[in-house]
């Protein structure tokens, strides 16, 4: 017998939970079909997380592709089907794979398994990122370098901590419902060991009574704790850097791992800082959203970003 999991019509970081809720109680070895026929839209988070669903199960899952031609065409442009074909048994009409010429796909869904993949992703995105972030989203030119750095650190989390590969996707779209502006979105998802198990593997790690996925997320994202910190004080700065980047550009960062989800939320979003008791799902799923800057808006300056006490370069 096949268990059918319905994919929500609009698939983003919140509605993806409906899919995880359906998936969690299904024992391994059960024949599964993800039914995406009625899906009309999916964020990069939704698409990369779908691939992780396949990665999380030992058996090959069935996947019924969306029926809407526009949806299926867009998913093809993001590169989704190219990877989905390796992980799912696809049912339905899949258009021939084309290169993503559309400017809204900043980076097609790309697998990350090793450091060279991170170099390739950062190198590939640089010029296009400059055009879009500065040209279309009206962000300061300084954002391009910081964006590449953020992408690099987010992808390195997969290489260093996941224990198996994951996927990254970057695109821009009009975030009309929540914000009424264009945004650029980075999604980096894997179905690996997750934050809690990664930190538990650190030498000398001590579990406290309330040690769980939520505390592991707080340690990693808010307190820059890394499993490599033992003997190397320089580790754990990647996520702290991502958090700072997001804060500086009024963006949003959300990270889900295990049964918890942490969100660093700007004023334009109403997400809760920590959600616990979610359906268990392996690995880590991260989303970074940076909104378009409107005329007259200045980036939020933090720390030594202006000529603070530690900065030596004087204004010229």
């Amino acid at each position: 017998m096949t268990t059918v999991i319905s994919v929500p019509p609009s698939l983003d970081e919140h509605s993806m939970e409906q899919l995880f809720d359906q998936l969690a109680p299904v024992p391994e070895g059960t024949k599964l079909l993800l039914d995406a026929r009625h899906v009309r839209w999916a964020s990069p988070y939704g698409l990369t997380a779908l691939l992780c669903v396949a990665q999380s199960r030992p058996d090959r899952l069935g996947f019924a592709v969306p029926e809407a031609a526009e949806t299926v065409s867009y998913w093809a442009r993001t590169g989704f089907f190219r990877h989905a074909a390796d992980w799912f048994e696809l049912h339905g009409q899949v258009p021939r794979t084309r290169d993503a010429h559309e400017s809204d796909v900043l980076l097609e869904i790309t697998p990350i398994t090793k450091s060279d993949d991170v170099h390739a992703v950062v190198g590939r995105i640089q010029q296009k990122a400059a055009d879009i972030l500065h040209g279309q989203l009206n962000l300061d030119t300084a954002v391009t370098g910081a964006f590449g750095m953020t992408l690099s650190e987010a992808c390195q989390n997969i290489v260093e901590h996941a224990g198996l590969g994951g996927w990254v996707g970057v695109q821009t779209y009009n975030y009309a419902r929540r914000l009424g502006r264009r945004v650029v979105v980075i999604a980096v998802c894997d179905a690996g060991v997750g934050f809690r198990r990664s930190l538990e593997s650190a030498p000398g790690h001590r579990r406290s009574d309330r040690w769980d996925d939520a505390m592991a997320l707080e340690d990693a994202v808010l307190r820059a704790v890394s499993r490599f910190r033992h003997g190397d004080a320089g580790r754990g700065q990647g996520l702290a850097g991502i958090r700072r980047f997001v804060g500086r550009w009024s963006g949003k960062l959300s990270v889900r791992s295990g049964t918890a989800r942490l969100a660093i939320t700007p004023p334009w979003d109403e997400d809760v800082p920590m959600t616990e008791g979610l359906a268990a799902f392996p690995g880590a799923q991260m989303q970074i959203v940076i909104p378009e800057r409107l005329e007259g808006e200045a980036p939020v300056r933090q720390r030594g970003a202006s000529a603070g006490a530690s900065r030596g370069r004087a204004p010229r």
Partner: protein
Amino acid sequence: MTIPAAMHIDIGHVLRGTVCDLYSNLVTRPTGVAVRTAIERQVREADGPVVTTIDFSQVQLLDFSCADEIVAKLLLLVQREDTPVGYLTFRGLQDGHLDPIETVLERHALALVSWHEGEAELFGAVTDNERRCWEAVRLHGPATASQLARHLERSVATLEEELAHLVQRRLVMEREARFSVPGAVGESGPRPTPLA
């Protein structure tokens, strides 16, 4: 103290020579380790004290991992007592490099001297007094502690203490009781003789 020689290391060249000749971004920790190891080898092979300038001009992107592996760990290396006295300066740092660099400097309580358009700059974890003292050295050096004390209107004893601390942190060089910023070329400063 003998006059330190000068060594110039183009980090973009090291990156392409050690990791991949197609790369121009300093990203990922393994890349940082490979580049730092290559630089360490050059620094250790130098005969006597050297002012090593790490040139970032050819680097487009630097992430936190590489800033930590290269900048922070090289600074920690030159500060170690078992390393022959040497100085590390930087040039070609663009605004995009500064955020990851300042982050790792603060994390390790380090500071560095960078040269930008012919002028020395100080980045990282320094106290207000250390910065004032260093700026006086930049402005008036090579100068003695008494000369600097006069400029800053402070006691010689206090200033000598601060200068000793800056020398220990390799942010200031002392030669024949005169203090200057590493990499400064003056009458009594180091004579640059490129080794690499």
